[in-house]
């Protein structure tokens, strides 16, 4: 009987072997994945018992932690959540979004730069505290963006940048939501019901369209096409064929907006093509430049470059590759598979305003430790050099023409007493669907203080009609600040 007993003993040992291997796998190898698993509320719930640093906009705390009565947990409160919810994001017992997630380590105090201070606090028995974040957002510009978009009754997004530093002065996305609705620590049921309602809403109010959504940029992308042309030897007076309807190399035709004419059907100058937003000549520019040069120029503006964090994650804007001639022509006017976030288009306007350099956008002006010493200061970082300053000047002149020229497509963005440089866009979104309406601009043209991009989803009008007034009021809000 000893042989089977021995085998049984080996089997019993094997059972323990399986358990040992498995716990080793879980605790040594899988541990990090599990610790950061989206279901794992610990990574946030642990933080529920610590006060997080506040998020400050325009001197006011828009997100702050407050101790819950008779509990050792803290509740995150949001002021004016409908306006700032997309910027701050939400800190909930089951996770975090937006800046709350991106700068979690600073806000909860676990960031390396706070470690020494926290260690000292621990020794003296003080509670660990997080850093406070002062944002670059200007309340007036933000309000102008929200009001302007709200007045259209449509969905959309608007971004304003300081072109010389990269500071994000406004970032609005409609429809919006209030993070307070989904961050209650004490009322799980209500929180879950609110979350479900927002999640199921087909207008997707929790998506930050300014940072996370990509659209066809339409005619605003002609700035990139023009930049590629200028960088490759063309001048504002160089011409391309501009028929009323362009027959594309691989079949299909491309008409001008509203079936109109650019230069009476004659070849049109680059400058005039931008001013009145000519489709056929710009498509010809793209075809004559070729995919390589177009892609290179788009990349210099920030397209096809994943991983931009401001510190919130920004969706990657795309210029497609592997195109045939017809598709290449369409990309020249921001159609086919060109996709851009509103932030990306603001960066394009900003680069033109800033002598050709794209400044890295940033949301946090200053991060301060609890003792008010500065930990981090944002801004001043050049992301890429998109065009030469000469090209930037030429583009600026063309964009001024968009608001002031004889055939101006965006006169609605004009601000009395200064020159405004802009570009309209009306992106076709498919057969029978209403177009997205864009406007990108900066002002004052001679001393740029603000660059904006506005998109109104399915506005069913032209960018100059719907989006330009919003851009104008945002620019005014910044300049008259």
């Amino acid at each position: 009987m000893n042989k089977p007993i021995r085998r049984l003993a080996v089997f019993a040992m094997a059972l323990f072997g399986v358990l040992l291997l498995n716990v080793t796998y879980i605790q040594a190898i899988q541990a990090e994945d599990l610790q950061t698993h989206p279901f794992n509320a610990r990574q946030f719930a642990d933080r529920m018992v610590q006060p997080r640093g506040p998020i400050i906009i325009g001197g006011e705390k828009v997100a702050y932690s407050k101790k819950i009565k008779n509990d050792d947990k803290y509740q995150r409160h949001y002021e004016n959540g409908q306006n700032y919810g997309h910027v701050t994001g939400a800190f909930t017992p089951i996770g975090a979004t937006g800046l709350e997630k991106a700068d979690n380590a600073l806000l909860n105090g676990s960031d390396d730069r706070l470690v020494v201070r926290n260690f000292l606090d621990m020794l003296t028995g003080k509670e660990q505290q997080g850093a406070s974040l002062e944002l670059t957002i200007q309340p007036k510009a933000q309000q102008a963006a929200i009001d302007g978009l709200g007045a259209t009754g449509k969905r959309g997004a608007a971004v304003a940048l300081d072109p010389t530093t990269g500071a994000v002065l406004a970032s609005a996305s409609l429809p919006s939501y209030d993070p307070s609705d989904i961050s209650s620590v004490t009322n799980d049921k209500e929180r879950a019901a609110n979350f479900e309602r927002l999640e199921k809403d087909e207008s997707r109010p929790m998506v930050n369209r300014a940072f996370s959504e990509t659209y066809f940029p339409g005619s605003t992308f002609k700035i990139v096409t023009a930049a590629a042309a200028l960088e490759n030897g063309a001048s504002p007076d160089s011409t391309q064929e501009a028929p009323d309807e362009l027959t594309l190399p691989q079949g299909g035709t491309l008409p001008n907006a509203g079936g109109g004419s650019c230069n009476g059907g004659s070849p049109d100058t680059l400058s005039h093509s931008i001013e009145m937003s000519c489709n056929t000549s710009m498509a010809n520019w793209a075809i004559s430049l070729g995919e390589g040069k177009m892609e290179e120029q788009a990349k210099k503006f920030g397209f096809n470059t994943p991983g931009l964090k401001i510190p919130t994650d920004i969706a990657t804007s795309k210029y497609p590759t592997g195109l045939n001639g017809s598709q290449l022509g369409q990309t020249g006017i921001g159609q086919f598979d060109v996709r851009a976030t509103p932030l990306q288009m603001a960066m394009v306007a900003g680069a033109v305003a800033n002598g050709g350099d794209v400044m890295k956008p940033y949301l946090v002006e200053e991060a301060k430790a609890p003792d008010l010493s500065r930990i981090e200061k944002g801004g001043g970082e050049t992301l890429t050099s998109a065009v030469s300053s000469g090209t930037a000047d030429s583009l600026k002149e063309m964009m001024i023409g968009v608001t002031e020229g004889a055939d101006a497509s965006g006169p609605n963005a004009k601000i009395p007493g200064m020159q405004v440089a802009g570009k309209t866009g009306t992106a076709e979104t498919g057969e029978g669907a209403n177009s997205h309406n864009w406007f990108i601009s900066f002002a004052p043209a001679d001393d740029p203080q603000v660059a904006v991009a506005v998109v109104v989803e399915n506005g069913n009008a032209s960018g100059g009609e719907v989006a330009a007034p919003i851009a104008k009021s945002m620019m005014e809000a910044v300049i008259t600040q």
């Binding site: 049984l8 019993a12 399986v18 879980i26 605790q27 479900e196």
Partner: protein, 488 residues
């Protein structure tokens, strides 16, 4: 038993080694409590000396008792049991007593209802009394062989007690409890031991029939396997029917079902040395499970929460919390399992230290999931110690089976040892997602009277059998030529 000589154990007592190891185990327990107190409340536990005195005293008493009444017993058995019992108690202290610091009045009373280390200590005392009684009175374990069918009946009655209305109670979804005088007991803990006794006795008498009579299945000249005769399958059929119908369908006691059937297969294999029994048993058991899958909802729930634990619908994220159509709309989620894994992950290799973790994040952690609390606070290091202690206990038991001479004792010792190993596997495997969660208790570690008591009964049986196996052969009391008298 051709190799009987090689399996003999030398008649060495090593009681002092046992004493040292028992003291080390008690020391580990007290250190765990001290760390808990310092971490959680910033001071030594107020009742440290009470626990130290009582638990340490009980352990030393048990050692002294063995020294006198079972001096040749394996010196590792008691220290391993004390270590596991002590760790369990220290963790209960951490989960309960150390968190009552700022409570008072009604809140304190409410907190005390769910368990306590002091309760565990009381059960340890009672268990050690029972331990002593068994070691002292059961001089020859083979007397148990005389009543196999009474044992079988006892096992069945114990298992089915919870089904009696008024007496039985459903706790955490499984109907495996009886409530006696305010204490909830799990009779299945004792039924397992009764069943091992019955199987040992039954198999010893039926061994030849079960292992020899067979039908050989051949394909051409190629032997596939020897199948038992139809009528010899009766005991397996009864066992199978009981495990499936009563335990799974009626009582939702998957843990007991798995453990009893597993032990049954192990023992029939030890008795007959025929793999065909295992094949038939496994096919029958898992076949039945497959067939039942569509019909027995609580069985299905366990499978889904195991296999698909990280599905948002099964876990029940906020999105599905209010959705009656989601899987978790029925009230069953994989949250306990997944949160247990999160606790293990939080512990990592070295753990957070006793009192430094957040085990309360796992629902009902004081019961089956106490292993996750160890994983969080003692880390992989601590868990390995616990697993190795359990493995060592089972392996020492197997060694006793090898060293024993009587067939019944061999069956009995190996059955109990396998039960310890398999029970650990079923519960820890369930918590760590190796197998579906079934609900069972870690021997010696788990909270609760019946679990601890049954563990110490098994320990008593092993101590007694190991003493008998290792004690020196009786000496002839007269010189050669006279009739030799052996003492029993």
């Amino acid at each position: 038993m051709t190799n009987a000589l090689s399996t003999q154990l030398p008649p060495v007592k090593r009681r002092n080694a046992e004493l040292v190891m028992v003291l080390v185990a008690v020391g580990i327990t007290l250190f765990a409590m001290i760390e808990t107190g310092l971490t959680r409340n910033g001071e030594l536990p107020g009742d440290l000396f009470l626990y130290g005195g009582l638990f340490g005293g009980l352990a030393i008493l048990a050692h002294v008792f063995i020294r006198f009444f079972a001096p040749y017993a394996d010196p590792l058995l008691l220290p391993l049991a004390v270590l596991l019992n002590g760790l369990g108690m220290a963790m209960l202290y951490r989960l309960f007593e150390s968190t009552w610091h700022n409570l008072s009045g009604a809140k304190l009373e409410e907190a005390m209802e769910s368990g306590s280390a002091s309760g565990q200590l009381q059960w340890t005392a009672l268990s050690l009394v029972v331990f002593a009684v068994i070691v002292y009175f059961l001089k020859e374990p083979r007397v148990l062989q005389r009543y196999p069918y009474i044992m079988a009946l006892g096992a069945v009655v114990l298992l089915m007690l919870p089904l009696i209305p008024g007496l039985g109670a459903t706790i955490n979804g499984a109907r495996q409890w009886v409530v006696v005088a305010g204490n909830s007991l799990q009779p299945s803990e004792f039924a397992k031991i009764a069943l091992v006794i019955f199987l040992s006795g039954y198999m010893v008498t039926k061994r030849d029939v079960l292992s020899l009579a067979s039908k050989r299945i051949k394909v051409g000249n190629f032997k596939i396997m020897d199948l038992p005769r139809m009528r010899d399958l009766a005991p397996m059929a009864v066992m199978w029917g009981f495990c499936i119908v009563v335990l799974v369908i009626l009582m939702n006691d998957l843990g007991s079902s798995l453990m009893l059937f597993g032990t049954f297969l192990a023992m029939i294999y030890v008795a007959t040395e025929r793999g065909s029994w295992i094949v038939i048993g496994l096919v029958a058991f898992f076949g039945a499970c497959t067939l039942l899958y569509p019909f027995v909802s609580h069985f299905r729930v366990r499978m889904v929460t195991w296999l698909d634990a990280f599905n948002p619908q099964v876990y029940c994220t906020d999105e599905f919390l209010n959705n009656p159509d989601a899987f978790c709309g029925g009230g069953s989620t994989s949250q306990q399992l997944v949160k247990g894994l999160f606790a293990l992950a939080e512990g990592g290799i070295t753990g957070t230290g006793m009192g430094g973790g957040k085990p309360a994040n796992v629902p009902e952690i004081q019961n089956d999931f106490i292993f996750a609390a160890f994983g969080e606070e003692l880390g992989l290091t601590g868990i390995m110690v616990m697993l190795l202690a359990l493995a060592l206990l089972a392996q020492r038991g197997m060694r006793i089976a090898l060293a024993s001479k009587e067939l019944f004792v061999k069956m009995f010792a190996s059955g109990i040892s396998f039960l310890i190993a398999f029970q650990s596997f079923v519960v820890i495997g369930g918590v760590t997602r190796v197998i579906p969660m079934t609900g069972a208790t870690i021997p010696f570690v788990a909270k609760g009277g019946s679990a601890l008591l049954s563990s110490y009964i098994m320990l008593a049986l092993l101590v007694r059998m190991s003493h008998n196996a290792r004690k020196p052969a009786p000496q002839a009391i007269q010189d050669e030529g006279a009739t030799q008298v052996f003492s029993r």
